[in-house]
Chain length 136, copies 2
DNA sequence: TTTAAATACTACTAAAAGGTAGAATTAAAA
DNA sequence: TTTTAATTCTACCTTTTAGTAGTATTTAAA
């Protein structure tokens, strides 16, 4: 019941850039600031570039920026990209699909928490990370 | 953001036994009924026996029963046993520990959903799986 | 125009989770 | 007392996730 490392790193990277927007950030800086292994970070950056969260500039003086305004990137978008979300009908116990008429023993209890989680991920954007009182 | 397979299987096994209590269930029956690979199931059963959720009887005509009344085993107990829970201070983004005074950018939004999840796992016992209208 | 500093690509290694194989042990039925 | 059917133990294999290595490509500064 936790996020995978790639998602966690991606969220932290994007929110850090959001918080220091209008600049180009290179992999070395991001890796050192966020304490993410350099080679793993560059791999994630390339994925984020391909999936259009990030625009990269190659060559000397290159680096990364956000591709869109900070309020147009939700946490849900990021998790979706790294295949780390709970789909509405995913059965918590892994017994196929789960809904009102065909449900596992935890289905009813799971409805509310699941909704709240979904809402949280959908309603939180990179904009919500602005401000300096957060760990990075 | 999902449970690991071992936890899922363990919950399904325990709740099935809870629902057919007062009998001895052997590994072959459980494996076939719940569609869990036999060898993996026996491994989980041995763990459940060692951690005192299950009492096993060895030898011919042996099998498994619950070690306690169904209302004394919560889902949280099971998840705890397979190291699959969210601890209160675990940071959702993996930046060490997280609390009111030292928090990540998702901390505040995460408080409510996390509480609901915890409550759900703590308040649901094997007793809640009784009845035949659930997938197994 | 060469060099330096950046991203991107390909391929690999390491660790964790999921799952399997086979033999040892146990205990009741035959 | 032998056989059969059950759990348990030890060791392994497979897949997925996490992370690393090295080289190729790109581009601006020197």
């Amino acid at each position: 019941m936790r996020l995978n490392n790639t998602s966690k790193y991606a969220i932290r990277i994007l929110s850090y850039i959001a918080n220091n927007n209008q600049q180009l950030h290179n992999a070395k800086e991001l890796s050192e600031t966020l304490d993410i292994p350099y080679k793993f970070l560059t791999k994630i950056m390339t994925e984020l570039t391909k999936s259009n969260f990030i625009i990269s500039t190659r060559g000397r003086e290159g680096g990364y920026t956000l591709s869109r305004p900070t309020d147009e990137i939700t946490i849900m978008d990021v998790l979706q990209n790294f295949n780390d979300i709970i789909y509405q009908k995913d059965c918590l116990l892994g017994i196929g699909k789960c809904d009102g008429s065909n449900k596992c023993g935890l289905h009813d209890q799971w409805v509310k928490p699941k909704k709240l989680i979904k809402k949280m991920f959908e309603n939180t954007t990179l904009n919500d990370f602005k401000g300096s009182n957060f760990k990075i």
